[in-house]
């Protein structure tokens, strides 16, 4: 299985159209390998993006340098996936 250790999901709040456009610029930076869970739609609408571990620093610096606020929605994607797997395995054990 693909490993998501250290991947974070950031919830970004773009205050105006200019900030929405800035976040859209991030979308075009393929080397960051960002995965937008909720695309930039408009000012005031949250944008969620999964950021691989190696891109976290760059993305946060980008957002902070443009005054765009964000919060960490998921601290470590892999730990949630492991929880999910554990729950499914427990169900299968019970079912057997």
């Amino acid at each position: 299985n693909k490993n998501f250790v250290g991947h974070q999901v950031l919830r970004i709040f773009a205050a105006d159209e200019a900030q929405v456009q800035k976040v859209k610029e991030l979308e075009d930076l393929e080397h960051l390998q960002l995965d937008f869970w909720r695309d930039p739609a408009g000012a005031g609408i949250p944008i969620d993006v999964r950021v691989p571990f190696l891109s976290i620093q760059s993305v946060k610096v980008f957002l902070e340098s443009h005054g765009i606020s964000y919060e960490i929605m998921i601290e470590d994607v892999q730990s949630l996936l492991e929880e999910e797997q554990k729950q499914m395995s427990a169900f299968k054990t019970r079912a057997r």
Binding site: N1, K2, V9, W37, D39, D48, E84, Q87, M88, A95
Partner: protein
């Protein structure tokens, strides 16, 4: 038995297909399974047909999980299937609907992608088809429909998550539905279910020109989200796709609407603001329960407003 099946956990594709077989076996007078095609990787694509008789009755279509990583949608689809068998003959609204109309339910709309989320990459969204000349795999099956295909609001880059494909209906998972809908010819409502962000949307996504039935769809959407919120207070936003989120060309319900299916809607299910696509399994049943109230509202309206 589908009575002992666990609806509060996520299941693999095999488990879901076993569930559907069980449901058909337990309710042969009500439920049948139709194979509408095979996926790119050769898996069967099934639709459950809930019908109390009659030939080619008007029908309501519901699909879940065209984006494979949106696990709460497939899980909700399972719950809906069971709910229909439980409530027929008990709930007057559902009984009236099924006495006149069929319900068609496609629980796993993107089986290859769904299997891939279980085996290899939990975050996979697209189909698993190969694109000639690219190392990237898969097409966004919600950008592959023949409605504004190729216009802004989808990507021409095969590596993008919103890659539209080389041509409309290039994905067999999409083409199978297109063929089924056109051959059926009597589908009156089409509801495509996604997650997440708590939205109920109607056409259009590819153009800002309002749909001819904009006002009626808006009023129906309002009633549906009001019914949904009545259970746990979950707040949904509603409106046309382009006005509510962003331009999205080649999407499912724009095509169905242009085919004459007036009551075309797409849902985005629960967003707790904490988990996104990784919604804990404990929220499957609450999500399905509240969504069912909205579905019932749209289905009842469809029954009472024939066209």
């Amino acid at each position: 038995s589908t009575d002992t099946f666990s609806y509060a956990t996520y299941h693999t594709l095999d488990e879901i297909y076993e569930f559907t077989d069980l449901l058909v076996a337990e309710h042969p007078q009500l439920v049948s399974k139709i194979q509408i095609g095979n996926t790119f990787e050769g898996r069967p694509i099934y639709v459950l047909k809930f019908s109390t008789g009659g030939n080619n009755r008007p029908a309501i279509w519901i699909d879940t999980g065209i984006h494979s990583r949106e696990w709460v949608t497939q899980a909700s689809g399972i719950w809906f299937a069971k709910k229909i068998t439980e409530d027929y003959g008990q709930d007057p609204v559902l009984t009236a609907i099924l006495d006149s109309m069929d319900i068609l339910l496609e629980i796993v709309t993107n089986p290859d992608g769904f299997a891939y989320t279980h085996s290899t990459n939990r975050m996979w969204r697209k189909t698993r088809s190969r694109t000639q000349g690219s190392l990237c795999i898969g097409v966004d099956p919600n950008r592959n429909w023949d409605a504004g295909f190729g216009e802004p609001g989808a990507s021409s880059n095969p590596c993008s998550e919103t890659y539209r494909g080389k041509f409309a209906n290039s994905e067999v998972e999409v083409k199978s539905i297109v063929d089924f809908v056109q051959n059926h010819g009597n589908i009156k409502a089409f509801i495509s279910i996604h997650s997440y962000s708590q939205l109920l949307l109607y056409p259009y996504g590819y153009t800002s020109v309002p749909a001819p039935n904009h006002k009626e769809l808006d009023e129906l959407a309002k009633s549906a989200v009001t019914a949904l919120a009545s259970l746990y207070g979950t707040k949904y936003t509603y409106g046309s796709i382009i006005d509510t989120i962003y331009q999205a060309s080649g999407n499912t319900v724009d095509w169905t609407y242009n085919q004459g299916i007036k009551y075309s809607f797409t849902f985005e299910l629960r967003d707790t603001g904490r988990y996104g696509f990784l919604l804990p399994a404990s929220q499957i049943i609450p999500t399905a329960k509240e969504t069912w109230l909205a579905l019932l509202t749209i289905m009842e309206y469809t029954l009472n407003h024939p066209y």
